[in-house]
């Protein structure tokens, strides 16, 4: 059971990274980016492509080597470029024309299918793994089994979130992003280059989204629909964590991850005891949905409203 909580935390970290990508677009451009999940998948598959041509090498404890870290870095850069290009080609014209938000949603939805088709076309419908060997499992007290790869995912996520948080609240550019999110017209009058802010936001979204995708590939495996299947959980982390809250998204992401992993097992035990032939692993998102509804009814501005995590 404790092992499921740990798995939930790992999943929560991955949800957080995807969620942060969506959160940034929502904060500055005011629409839920439906393509976020598919970009997440694309980031993983781009890294996969690089990992096939870059010698993997070895690192202590983890199953992957520096080659994968380099692939991750290249994937982050490439996805940031792709997302920026899509933003400039498709979404910027909509912003300049003050298009209704339905146009943004429809465009994002269209891009989702375009990118998903590209993924199927290039990498096929099967699953892929970054490494073929079995990871070393650490057996911890309380029946917790965890791999060094998963520990790496959690630590790297926490470090990245800390860096983003620092950037957001302690740098001039980060504050300019917050100012633009607060009031774009006033930001323009104040001399903040709005075009640059939108580019920065898209680049950050690309970097974290690719990282999330690659981490999912490391901790679980790569599937063409992996990002799409996590999309709702990412949206919920953004909503429950509070609008634009970086730490809130991490907190909500972890809660949702744990609820999905732990809740599934608890309910499965109950179903098995009652001889009810339902396989709960296919309904993990239900727990995230229930959590979202409870939060929307009780704390519509996010679970961490008024706390230090509401940032």
């Amino acid at each position: 059971m404790l092992g499921n909580i740990v798995d939930g935390i790992v999943l929560g970290c991955i949800i957080t990274l995807g969620g942060l990508g969506i959160s940034y677009v929502l904060l500055l451009q005011n629409y839920f980016n439906f393509t976020g999940g598919t970009y997440f998948t694309l980031g993983a598959f781009i890294a996969f492509a690089f990992s096939r041509i870059i010698p993997m090498g070895e690192l202590p404890f983890v199953t992957f080597g520096p080659g994968l870290l380099l692939s991750l870095l290249l994937s982050m850069i490439l996805l940031a470029i792709i997302m920026t290009a899509v933003d400039k080609l498709l979404f910027r014209p909509l912003r300049l024309r003050n298009a209704p938000f339905m146009f943004f949603y429809l465009t994002a939805f269209g891009m989702l299918f375009v990118i998903r088709s590209i993924i199927y076309l290039v990498w096929g419908a099967g699953t892929q793994n970054f490494v073929s060997g079995l990871p070393h499992i650490y057996r911890l007290p309380g029946g917790i089994n965890i791999t060094a790869d998963k520990i790496f995912v959690v630590l790297a996520t926490i470090i990245l979130v800390a860096l983003i948080y620092y950037f957001q609240y302690n740098t001039r550019l980060g504050k300019a992003m917050l100012a633009t999110a607060d009031d774009e017209r006033l930001a323009a009058i104040t001399g903040i280059k709005i075009k640059n802010i939108h580019t920065t936001v898209t680049v950050i979204a690309g970097l974290v989204t690719a990282m999330g995708g690659v981490f999912y590939g490391i901790a679980v495996q790569m599937r063409p629909l992996m990002g799409f299947n996590l999309l709702m959980a990412m949206f919920f982390a953004v909503i429950c964590g509070g609008h634009g809250a970086i730490l809130g998204t991490l907190g909500a992401g972890i809660i949702i991850g744990v609820l999905q992993e732990f809740g599934t097992v608890v309910v499965q035990i109950g179903l098995d005891a009652g001889n009810i032939p339902v396989e709960m692993s296919g309904y993990k998102e239900v727990f995230a949905f229930i959590f979202l509804i409870i939060i929307l009814l009780t704390k519509p501005y996010g679970i961490f409203e008024g706390t230090i995590l509401d940032r």
């Binding site: 504050k175 300019a176 009031d183 009058i189 001399g191």
Partner: protein
């Protein structure tokens, strides 16, 4: 253009969508002047300021700054020319702290940031005490002080203020107006102010009266104050 034609608004017609709000309005501002624009609600005062600062594009007419046609400039370009605009509403970043608002005001400022802060804290000492407070939680007067401060962080040559004393208590109106006058003297700014207060008109060098989107009168501010048109508008004749 000559030095005394610091800013020239030449016959602009402006509005929103299909609706025109301002009709063939011309005004002229000399460097170092304190100019006030008055008029009843709906006269087009805010539209005039927005048209000058590039927030909206005039449908007709031109805006010249130091002789150069700046009609199609955006607010950011106008700011880099030294023209700073403080709107009447939504003029601070409510979610940011006071110090971050000031920092954003100087986002593209190349001069001595600390010196600007010093000037602001001299004029608005209360802001120094509230640096770590979220701007949205400030009182009405403090918000206006912060908005003005944000507007002058870039050391503008021309500060355009849209009703900075609107909705304030009478004692705060005096305090804010005194501060604007003090800032003008200390920073040697030109000021274009939309206001409805006697004090603003008394402090101004020149005044314009707008009504229904048309320029009714322009005169020395004190003459404007005593004109029949102003008496008629504000005191019912």
């Amino acid at each position: 253009m000559a030095e005394n034609n610091f800013l020239e608004v030449d016959n602009i017609t402006s509005g929103y969508g299909m609706v025109d709000v301002l009709f063939d309005v011309s005004i002229s501002i000399n460097k170092g002047d304190f100019v006030v624009v008055i008029g009843p609600n709906g006269a087009g005062k805010t539209t005039l300021l927005r048209s000058i600062t590039g927030v909206i594009k005039p449908k007709k007419g031109k805006v010249y700054h130091l002789g150069e046609d700046v009609t199609d400039f955006n607010p950011e370009e106008m700011l880099f020319r030294g023209i700073s605009y403080v709107p009447q509403e939504r003029n601070i970043f409510s979610d940011l702290k006071v110090k971050d608002n000031l920092e954003m005001g100087a986002y593209s400022y190349k001069g001595d940031y600390e010196k600007r802060l010093e000037l602001i804290f001299n004029v608005f000492p209360i802001l120094k005490e509230r640096l770590d407070q979220e701007a949205g939680t400030l009182s009405g007067g403090q918000r206006q002080m912060l908005a003005i401060s944000r507007g002058i962080m870039m050391e503008p040559e021309l500060l355009i203020l849209d009703e900075p004393t609107s909705g304030l208590q009478p004692n705060l109106v005096t305090e804010v107006m005194d501060s604007i006058v003090e800032l003008q003297k200390k920073d040697q700014m030109t000021i274009l102010l939309v206001a409805q207060t006697n004090q603003a008109i008394e402090e101004a060098d020149w005044g314009y009266l707008l009504r229904n989107g048309e320029l009714i009168l322009d005169a020395k501010a004190k003459e404007l104050m005593e004109s029949d048109e102003v008496m008629d508008l504000y005191f019912g004749g």
